[in-house]
C-alpha cells in the first residue's frame, strides 16, 4: 500500500514536471516550425522606449519641438508674402531715388548751361562781338551737349560701379557669416556630444550599479509570504533607489545644461564679435572704393567740357569766357556732389532696411535650422547608441533560442517569432 502510494507520488511528480515542461513549451515555441522557420523579428520602436537612455531621447525630442514651435509662434510678424511685398516696395523706392537723382542732375545741367550762356553772351556783347547771343548759343549748345553726355555717362558709371561693389561686398559678407557660423556650430556640436556621452555613461553606470540590489528586492517582493510592512519597506527602498538615480542624473543634466548655455553664449559672443569685425572691415573697404570712385567722377565733372570760344574772339575775351565757364562749372560740380551725396544717403538707408528685412528673418530661420540640425545630430547619436545596445541583447537572445535570423524593420507578420516583448523584459531587467 505504501509502495503503491509512493509510486503514485513519483508519477504525480513526473506528471507535474511534464505539465511544467509543456507550459514552457507553449511560451517558448519551436522556432524551427513551419510557422517560424528560424525567423524572428523585433519592433524596434517599441523596445527603444524601454531603454534606460530613452528619457534622454525624449528630452531631445522636446528640445527640437521647442525650437520648431518658436519658429512657428505668432511672434514673428512677417509672412513670406509680407516680406516679398515690403521688399518690392523698397526696391521701387530705391529705383525712384535713382531716377529722381538723374532728373535733378539733368535739371541742374540745363540751368547751369542757361546761366553760363547768359554770362558768356553778356561778356561777348561787352567785347563788341556781333550776334553775341547766337555765338554764345552755338558755343553753349556744343558744350552743354558734351557736358550733358559726359555727366550722364559719369552718373551711370558711378551707379553701376556702386551696384557692383555693393553686390560683391554683400556676397563676401554672406561668406564670412556662413563660415563663422559653421565654425561655431561645429564647436557647439562637439561640446553637446561630449556632454551627451557623459550623461549616457552616467545613466548606464547608475542603472547597472543598483541592478543586483534592485533585482534582490524585486525577487523578495515577488514572494507571496511577505508581510505588508516589509513589502512597503521594500517598495520604499526601490523608490528611494530610483529617486537617487534620477536626482544624480538630473543634477548632471542641469550642470551640463548650464555649462552648455555658458559655452554657447561664449561661442556666440565670439562669433558675433568676429562677424562684426570682419563685416566692419569689409564695409570700410567698400566705402573707400565708393568714395574713391565718387571723387573721381566729381573730378571728371569738375574738369568737364568748357564752352568752346570761337577762334575769331580776342584772347582777352576768350580768357574771360573760359573763366566764366570754370566758375559755373565749379558751382555745378559742388551742387552735383550734394545731390549725389544725398542720393547715396537715401540709397544706403533703403538698402539697410532691405538688408534688415531679409537678414533678420534669414538669420532667425538660419539659427533655428542650425539648432534643430544640431539637436537632430545629438538625437541620432543617442538613438544609435540605444539601438546598438538593443542589438547586442537581441543577438544574445536569438542565439539562446537557436534562431537563424532576426529582422528589425517588418511591415507585417504572418508568422515568424516576435521577440519584442522578451527583449523589452530583458532590457528592463538590466536596470530594474
Amino acid at each position: 500500500m505504501s509502495r503503491m502510494h509512493s509510486a503514485s507520488k513519483v508519477a504525480a511528480l513526473i506528471a507535474c514536471c511534464a505539465a511544467a515542461a509543456s507550459v514552457m513549451g507553449c511560451t517558448t515555441p519551436n522556432v524551427h516550425s513551419s510557422q517560424i522557420r528560424g525567423i524572428a523579428y523585433v519592433k524596434l520602436d517599441d523596445v527603444v522606449k524601454h531603454d534606460p537612455l530613452y528619457s534622454q531621447l525624449a528630452n531631445i525630442d522636446d528640445a527640437i519641438a521647442m525650437v520648431e514651435l518658436v519658429g512657428a509662434s505668432p511672434r514673428i510678424p512677417r509672412s513670406a508674402a509680407e516680406i516679398a511685398r515690403e521688399s518690392a516696395q523698397l526696391r521701387s523706392e530705391i529705383a525712384s531715388a535713382q531716377a529722381r537723382t538723374q532728373h535733378i542732375i539733368r535739371q541742374k545741367q540745363q540751368a547751369y548751361a542757361a546761366r553760363t550762356q547768359a554770362a558768356v553772351t553778356a561778356a561777348l556783347t561787352a567785347a563788341g562781338v556781333k550776334n553775341a547771343a547766337n555765338v554764345a548759343a552755338a558755343m553753349g549748345i556744343t558744350s552743354s551737349q558734351q557736358q550733358q553726355q559726359a555727366e550722364l555717362q559719369a552718373g551711370r558709371d558711378l551707379m553701376a560701379y556702386r551696384a557692383g561693389v555693393v553686390q560683391q561686398s554683400n556676397a563676401a559678407a554672406e561668406n564670412v557669416v556662413r563660415q563663422l557660423q559653421a565654425e561655431a556650430a561645429q564647436r557647439l556640436q562637439a561640446k553637446a556630444q561630449a556632454e551627451q556621452q557623459a550623461e549616457s555613461n552616467l545613466a548606464l553606470r547608475l542603472s547597472q550599479q543598483d541592478a543586483s540590489q534592485r533585482l534582490a528586492i524585486q525577487t523578495r517582493l515577488s514572494m507571496l509570504a511577505l508581510g505588508q510592512s516589509e513589502r512597503r519597506q521594500l517598495q520604499a527602498q526601490l523608490s528611494q533607489m530610483q529617486q537617487r538615480e534620477n536626482a544624480l542624473l538630473n543634477a548632471q543634466r542641469a550642470a551640463d545644461q548650464r555649462e552648455y548655455a555658458a559655452y554657447r553664449a561664449q561661442v556666440m559672443a565670439q562669433t558675433n564679435a568676429a562677424i562684426h569685425a570682419q563685416l566692419a572691415n569689409l564695409q570700410t573697404q567698400t566705402q573707400a572704393k565708393l568714395v574713391g570712385r565718387r571723387n573721381a567722377v566729381i573730378q571728371q565733372l569738375r574738369g568737364g567740357v568748357p564752352p568752346m570760344p570761337a577762334a575769331s574772339i580776342s584772347p582777352a575775351t576768350r580768357a574771360q569766357i573760359t573763366h566764366i565757364a570754370d566758375q559755373f562749372q565749379q558751382q555745378y560740380s559742388h551742387d552735383v556732389q550734394d545731390v549725389i551725396a544725398q542720393y547715396e544717403q537715401t540709397y544706403a538707408a533703403l538698402e539697410a532696411q532691405y538688408a534688415t528685412l531679409h537678414g533678420a528673418d534669414a538669420a532667425a530661420s538660419s539659427a533655428a535650422a542650425q539648432e534643430v540640425a544640431l539637436l537632430q545630430q545629438r538625437r541620432q547619436t543617442l538613438y544609435d547608441q540605444i539601438v546598438n545596445h538593443i542589438r547586442g541583447e537581441a543577438e544574445r537572445l536569438a542565439k539562446a533560442k537557436g534562431l537563424d535570423v532576426v529582422f528589425s524593420g517588418v511591415t507585417a507578420a504572418a508568422g515568424g517569432y516576435n521577440m519584442t516583448n522578451e527583449l523589452i523584459t530583458d532590457i528592463e531587467s538590466e536596470h530594474e
Binding site: I14, A21, R37, S73, P74, F407, G409, T411, A414
Partner: protein, 267 residues
Amino acid sequence: MKKHLIPIIMAAAALVPACAPASTATDLTDLGYVDQSAFASLPMFNSARQQLASFQSSLNGQYNAAIRGAHTASDRQRIYNDFQNRYANEQRVLFGPLFERVNLAIASVASTRKLSVVVDKRIIIYGGQDVTKDVVRLLQSNQTILPLGTAPPPSPIGYVDPSAFQNSPQAKAANDQMNTFVQQQQRIYGAQLAHAKTDAQKQQIAAAYNKAIADEQAKVLKPVVDHEQDVAASIARRRGLLLIIDHADILYGATDITADVQNALSK
C-alpha cells in the same frame, strides 16, 4: 505494479515533444544582406556626384537669371518646376546606369552564393550572410555583368511598397486630418511658448505638444496603418509568406504583394 508504471511512462512521454524541436520546415538560412552605404565611396559614384554638382552649379546660374525675369507667381512656379525636372533628369541619366549595375551585381552575387533573398543591412539585427564585399569587388571590376536568366528561388519573405497605399481615401483623409491638427497645435503651443518665462515651463510646453501629437497619431494614423498591416498579413498567410518588409529594403528576391494589398484595401 505495472499499472502504476503507466502514469510514469505517460508523463515521460509527455516530456518528449516539449523538449525535442520538430523540424517540420527548412529554416531560412539562404538570406544575405548588403551595406549600401559602402557603395557611396566607390569612384563611379563619386564621379557621378561631381558631375551632378557641376551641372547643378551651372543650372543655378540659369535659374537665377530666369527667375529674375519672372513677373508672376505662376511664372516662377513654372520656371521652378522646369529646372527641377531638368535636375531630376540629369540625376537619372548619371545615376540610373550605376544603380542598374549595382542591382545586377547583387543578383549575380546572390546567385553565386545561392541566396533566395538579399536585404539592406539596416533591417538585420542578427544572422544572414554579409555579401557587401563580394558586391563591391564585382562593381569595381571591369567585368560586364549580365542579367540572370533565372528568377530568384522562392522564400518566405514578401514585400510591399507602402507609398502605393498613401493615395487611398482612408490614408489621405487621415493624413489631412493629422496635418490640420499639427498646424493647430503649433499655433496653440507656439503662443504658449511665447509667454513662458522659465526653461522648465518651456520644456513642459514642448513635452505637452509632443504628447498631443503622439496621441493624435495613435488616434488618427495608427488605425489606418494597423488595417494595412492586417490586410498585408492576411495576404501573406494566403501566399505562404511569413514576413512582409518594405520594398526599399529588398535588394534581391522576395515576393511583391503590393498589388494584392492595394486591391484588398480598395474593396
